[in-house]
Amino acid sequence: MVRKRRDPEQRPSPEALLEAARREESADGKLKIFVGAAPGVGKTYEMLQSAHAKRKAGIDVVVGFIETHGRAETEALVRGLEVVPRKKLEYRGQIVEEMDLDAVIARRPQLALVDELAHTNAVGSRHPKRYLDIEELLSHGIDVYTAVNIQHIESLNDVVAQITHVRVRETVPDAIFDRADAIELIDLTPDDLIQRLKEGKVYVPRQAERALEHYFSPGNLTALRELALRRTADRVDEQLLNHMQANAIAGPWAAGERILVCVSEDPRAAGLVRYTKRLADRLHAPFTAISIETRRSLRLSDEQRDRLADTLRLAESLGGEALTIPAVGRRIADDVVNFAQGNNVTQIVIGKSTRSRWFEMTRGSVVHDLVRRAGNITVHVIAGDDLPGEVAPRTAVQTAAPSEPFDPLPYLKSLGIVVIGLGAAELIQPYFGIENVDLVLLTSVVAVAVRYGLWPSLLATVAASLCYNFFFIPPIYTFTITDPTNVAAFVLFTVVAMLVSNVAARVRTQADAAIGRIRMTEQLYAFSRKLAGTATLDDVLWATAYQIALMLKVRVVLLLPEEGLLTVKSGYPPEDELDQADLAAANWAWGNDRPAGRGSDTLPGAKRLFLPMRTGRGPIGVIGIDNDRTGPLLTPDQRRLLDALVDQGALAIERVLLVEDMDRVQRTVESERLRSALLTSISHDLKTPLASVLGAASTMRDLAGALSDAEKRDLLATVIEESERLNRFIANLLDMTRLESGAIVPNTALHDLGEIVGSALRRAAKILINHKVELVLAADLPMLELDAVLFEQVLFNLLDNAAKYSPHDTTVSISSRREQGFVLLEVADEGEGIPPDELESVFDKFYRVQKGDHVRPGTGLGLAISRGFVEAMRGTISAANRRDRRGAILTIRLPVPAQTRALDAAA
């Protein structure tokens, strides 16, 4: 069979394959969601029936939480299943029952039934939302069946609100819907559902009866049913698409669509993001939310700024990308189009402006500019009126409003400045006339505006106007104005004062903001420089903790995983132990990569707030912060600053950890290399002399009669020489082993270098028999702190090496001289020298200078041992090539001990 050549475009998409692999390999449990268009369609009933089928098939099923609402048929179905007892919590004097999450996890069933996915847990539970409980069950490898109505899906929330005029407060993120392994739609026609409602088969809380009458109108139900069908179809579509991509089936999917949504601090921006999510889902396109930071952005209130951040986070939680980019062009539309073109965006979503016609005429309309400049990019303009004014869901961590207590001082000072202005005006009026008085007063208003900002300057404006009227406009000392000219002057004065103070105050605000940003940037820069300069993990952790504590005025602990357990590694002020609640929150934050503890969704009872620290490569630790105030810990600005600091700290920690990892890897590689070198060395260096000895000895035994006396002597000489070589090799191995096991403790005393050189030469006499030896020792050498045995061995090794690497009849020279506080001893040969790039590696274990593919005989240990011994005696040893001729030169450098001179003098 001829295999069809595959079109490169038709290769399976890596993302799809990865996704498939994740689903298959993940140890997480499988999630099945039973979806209905409205209450009463029979989700719970269907879920229970499926559970029974599973139980019959031998699956271990338990009921985690199911509310039967007293319906007999449902109750009958529950009865046949094991029910995990609920947990009772007391909340405001009432007993509330919730699923006992820990009990279900401890019970470890294969499948747990947990109804009402969108349920909000009672205060005091681990998670505020049930879907978080379910995620935790899944993460423990437990399969979960759950049920939800379509109106609870986050991205459909406002659509449902438009249809039914009832906004559902309990929502679940689309992500949980998308991660479900199976979706089963429980469909019932509107007529059947209304019939069931009339028969009392639908549970309706009494107080909601009237509202629900409207809710269950045929029109509403049809619309909801369509939504449910479409959302499920989208989901099925997506699975099909994944399947097709994973199997490289060419499909009709739209490729290359990218959607951009422009968001602002406008409360309706959240609706825009949801609209974009639905559009993106239909097109299977990624989407990005951008906010353009203009000069106006600086003047946003904290509430607005918070809302903008929440909207961007909503985009992220819906699976999009969120970016804030600074305005560059004169018009916002230019920046949007530039970004869109630079990122291959095909569609832009923007809200219809709510600005007045006047504003658009004077400043231009972003929407019009955008449409005009967009070229072939589709622009969706969403009518703002259709989107209900609704705030994006609060972020996972509550932030505090920055509380600035009212300070009367600036106001009093403002009035003081106006009084001074008044005095000055009184002084100059006789000389310059009333025309210049208003300028003096105006100056005082501007001074106040520049100095104290908007509100004090408005007070100053009022005060100055009144003073102007009272003291200067005739009739003076009354607030009445008789002359119409003066009325005009007064009105003009007030208007000008207002405008000027406004402008001056704004300039001041901007300057303040700029200074604040500069200071923050400087601090961040200083922090990153400090981090860059630290090398050890402890220093990095300490610097991070200290900096965050300093800049945010909080207490900080840093936790890193250590042998699988999250452990406190640093803190400011130093902290060693966390209490149980905090430790649980920290572990949860680490395990789930989400904030936990004080002010967050999870374990809000903990003393601290714990945030995961992560880098591009994944989570690396957890930071915990707290302070003495009650309520939320941080203002939104502080939260943003914390994020920046934590990111920098995380990067630095990762850097240090990576370096450690690399070191470890390198050491492993090194020891692998050594092991193989050792094997080579032992097999070669032990076997070669043994073979010679064995060969010579057996020749002597078996062929003695046929050998001449000279031949016999020759063979015997071989036996002796090779045995000696073997002996040296074993001695080297022993030395190396002693050195590495730390068994070498130099027994140092003051020694005469010449004496040790002499005994080393005597020991090496046999080896150097074919070489000339030149010995030049300076006469004034001091005694040195040495271990004579070790040092003799070092010299012996150097001499052995010199003899080995230089031809017969050349000279090996030993010389020594004093150089400031050191004595240098050099052993030089007339061999071929050492290749320049190997001057350092000759001291590596089992290293041998290679000539072609020929390895010199020897152990490759001599120099490594020499270095180890010399360093144990606080000296250094280095290799170089001779300058005066060919050959290598090994230099030992030893410090001259202080007491040597005294002894020399004594002798």
Binding site: H751, D752, G754, V757, L775, A907
Partner: protein, 229 residues
């Protein structure tokens, strides 16, 4: 002198070593007694060996303990110990316990025979001290206290002469630092002094002080004067 063969007791647990020594030594006219462990060694002491070759690593008894026991029973018999390289402390201890010399395994037969001869000669010297020691160009007249290198008389300081005299009295035998210090000063004196005097002595009696031919350094152990002709 060669009427009765000299008895040498070989104490070593390795049969090949004993065999080697038996073959090597019998060619030189020695009579060999063998012991594979400490117990047998003590039994063989009754046969009055003239010299003992003692391996320090025995299966049944600590080499140093055996050495101490032998010395307690017989003060005079020369003992040459066999030990492994890198055990300088063990050698020094053996010498201090009364061993006369040591040999590091593996060793050559020529070296062993030289050590045995030195040890035996030393024993004879102790019995009847020779008035003039000669070795190469060095001659030391212990009676007239005259030291000559070739025909040149060498002036030595009293301490230098004392050092040389002790070395001559034990010529061919290794002397530990501690032994020399005890003989010349006292045991508590710093070994540096000894090294300084050895250096000075060498400068006076050696042709090339850096490559001495008479006063040899036994690194980590002590000194040995090359035995005379």
């Amino acid at each position: 002198m060669s009427a009765a063969p000299i008895k040498v007791l070989v104490v070593d647990d390795e049969p090949p070593i004993r065999k080697l020594l038996r073959m090597g030594l019998s060619t030189q006219g020695y009579e060999i007694l063998e012991a594979a462990n400490g117990k047998t060694a003590l039994e063989k002491l009754g046969e009055e060996p003239a010299l003992i070759i003692l391996d320090l690593g025995l299966p049944d008894v600590q080499g140093h303990d055996l050495l101490r026991t032998i010395r307690a029973r017989n003060e005079a018999v020369p003992i040459v110990v066999l030990s492994s390289r890198g055990d300088e402390a063990g050698k020094v201890q053996a010498l201090d316990l009364g061993a006369d010399d040591y040999l590091t395994k593996p060793f050559g037969m020529d070296e062993l025979l030289a050590r045995l001869r030195a040890a035996l000669r030393h024993q004879l010297q102790v019995k009847g001290e020779r008035p003039v020691f000669r070795s190469g160009d060095l001659s030391v007249d212990l009676v007239r206290r005259i030291v000559k290198v070739g025909e040149r008389e060498v002036k030595l300081s009293p301490k230098e002469y004392e050092l040389l005299r002790v070395l001559v009295q034990h010529a061919g035998k290794v002397l530990t630092h501690r032994f020399l210090l005890r003989e010349l000063w006292d045991e508590l004196t710093d070994a540096q002094y000894l090294r300084v005097y050895v250096r000075q002595l060498r400068q006076k009696i050696e042709a090339d002080p850096e490559r001495p031919q008479h006063v040899l350094t036994e690194t980590g152990i002590g000194y040995r004067l090359k035995s005379g002709n």
